[in-house]
Symmetry: C2
């Protein structure tokens, strides 16, 4: 039996997770999956109920689960509260506590949505990049950090730090994943300025010796940000640290024009994982029933593939999403003339039915 | 009398700077400018000649100058030498020694080159963003930094640090510049994760009180990287730290599709400045006479505007560049069907003539 913990979170989180759970229940029946579902509070919802964005009870359930289906967190309501209680901190602590060091963010252009991109069709058609971002180290977690008083003024500081073993294990994940794709890995650094990324480049290069079939290349982060705009199809797998990965994966996601479609997985050493859509909690449209649930449903597919090792179920869910797109169903964020605008629930029902 | 120091550097640097100097000499005559030119070595060329990417003599001349016209530095030839001698380090030391803390990077779409962008014309036509990047602080210069041995493995580390006064003075530059534009400033941070940028956001917000006409907004760096792709025309002035500025300014530059056209200025407290094209040293095409000199010529225009306070000369140089584009002259990097492909020298001559 597998345990899946559902963490709806804030904003549109509950609505979109609802539809993914609907699809999960259909998949359980169809494929005879032995999956037990549980649910808990996280983010602003948990702050409101228990004064903590990651309550002990939620963390315990998360530790016990094989996989976590996550909605989204945050919103203006919790912007002004003290640093440690902000919704984001709950997510960061969850990633760190569970050792979810490998963040996989595919940037794929759905042919049905090619028009949605702000880039010219020939630049992005067929786009299929996988960004592998280190998620539990780097400047996100480095010590010392804070705001101090010095020479009569405030000084803010953070530490960008990686150990060799942290670099090696994320490089390994990238190489393994690339072996199942086009066998090309780009490592992104700023080795001409930052010593920590100079070591990063060195360690990734060493680790690549264990993968003789992989074609490894390197790029400075500024150039990578540029090349993603100029010619994104040159990339297969991109591996980088926590902060550069945050920036580049969002940039890459937006190349597709449909961030409402893109899933992500955050894995530990044993492929236990947290699965969440790339988009945020969109408080402006929360509760209106118009949010796009497909990124969360695609995240469920990743959950099946990586944590439950059911690639067949993942394929079936992805095919169901594609078929619904083929039928012309679109939520507001991806709606164009000649397609049919539907709400969150109708979209979820359509995928469940197609499955 | 004004002193301008010319630092051609490496790769295509000497070729493109040559054309800018040609234009400068015409401007001197036409506008009766009292400008004295000097030249010195920097980057790889200086490493080869004197074993140092920023020799003492070059730094002295730079200190004595009112403005510096800089080509570009670096190339595979100097990739393997020890860290402190790499060409980039010469540039970083130059910026730091001269206190050139304000880096201005316009991202402008030339209507004549609208096709060159990888983005759809409606997304970028009329694009005119000014990125103001802090250039002498942040993680580029923060201490401690290095690679150490810990628990039997190597650990790389850098420090992201800003004092209140550093933040305040760059915010001021951005607000002053915005007052002459559309009066909108976006400050980019990652305040939900990094304390140093939490303080950044606070200080910029405080400083904005002195500019009641300015409309200030804030965005996380990952979202900014995304919004630049989605809808870049929403921005007027963007102000941010050294590292985020490095990444976002290159991304923004590439939106125009013609990085060979984009200049930059790096100013100190007294508007002394270093002016350089946004593109690199392009070692692959160095010495072939095909590089685009227009970014360097546009950098010369910025030099006239900011350091020599001759906005009229700057306008004339920019108009000369536009007229050459209108005539259909294009270097290889911006060449399209129906326009005339010219080399570096012919392009420089045409601008000099138009002036
Ligand atoms: C919410 C925030 C802390 C988070 C991050 O920066 O990691 C988000 O941007 C992401 O990419 O998942
Ligand atoms: C060459 C390098 C050190 C430099 C930087 O990162 O500042 C360059 O990328 C730039 O943006 O001028």
């Amino acid at each position: 039996m597998s345990k899946v913990l559902v963490l709806p979170g804030d904003g549109i989180g509950p609505e979109i997770v609802n539809e993914a759970v609907k699809v999960l229940n259909v998949a359980k029946e169809k494929f005879g999956l032995d999956v037990e579902l549980d649910e808990a509070l996280v983010g602003g919802a948990a702050v409101d109920a228990e004064g903590d964005p990651l309550p002990e009870g939620t963390l315990e359930k998360a530790r016990a689960a094989d996989a976590i289906l996550f909605g989204s967190i945050g919103g203006p309501k919790w912007d002004a509260i003290e640093r440690d209680k902000r919704p984001e901190r709950g997510l960061l602590r969850l990633r760190s506590s569970l050792g979810l060091f490998a963040n996989l963010r595919p940037a794929i252009l759905f042919p049905q949505l090619a028009d949605a991109s702000s880039l010219k069709p020939e630049v992005v058609s067929g786009l299929d990049i996988l960004i592998v971002r280190e998620l539990t180290g780097g400047i996100y977690f480095g010590q010392p950090r804070g705001i101090k008083e010095e020479n009569g003024e405030r000084v803010g500081f953070n530490t960008y730090v990686y150990s060799e073993s942290e670099m090696r294990r994320i490089a390994k994940v990238a190489f393994e994943l690339a072996m199942k794709r086009d066998k090309r890995v780009l490592s992104v650094d700023k080795a001409n300025v930052l010593e920590v990324t100079e070591l990063w480049k060195e360690v990734v290069t060493e680790e690549a010796k264990n993968y003789p079939e992989i074609q490894l290349s390197h790029m400075y982060v500024d150039n990578a940000a540029m090349q993603l705009v100029r010619a994104p199809k040159q990339f297969d797998v991109i591996v980088t640290g926590n902060l550069f990965g945050d920036i580049l994966s969002d940039e890459a996601a937006m190349l597709t024009g449909s961030i409402g479609m893109l899933p992500s997985a955050s894995l530990d050493e044993n492929r236990k994982g947290l699965y969440e859509p790339c988009h945020g909690s969109a408080p402006d449209i929360a509760g209106q029933g118009i949010a796009n649930p497909l990124a969360t449903i695609m995240s469920l597919a990743m959950l099946m593939r990586y944590s439950l090792e059911r690639g067949d179920v993942a394929d079936a869910i992805e095919a169901a999403v594609e078929s619904v797109l083929d039928k012309g169903l679109r939520t507001a964020d991806i709606h164009t003339e000649g397609t049919r605008k539907v709400g969150t629930e109708e979209m979820g029902n359509a995928v469940a039915e197609a499955l």
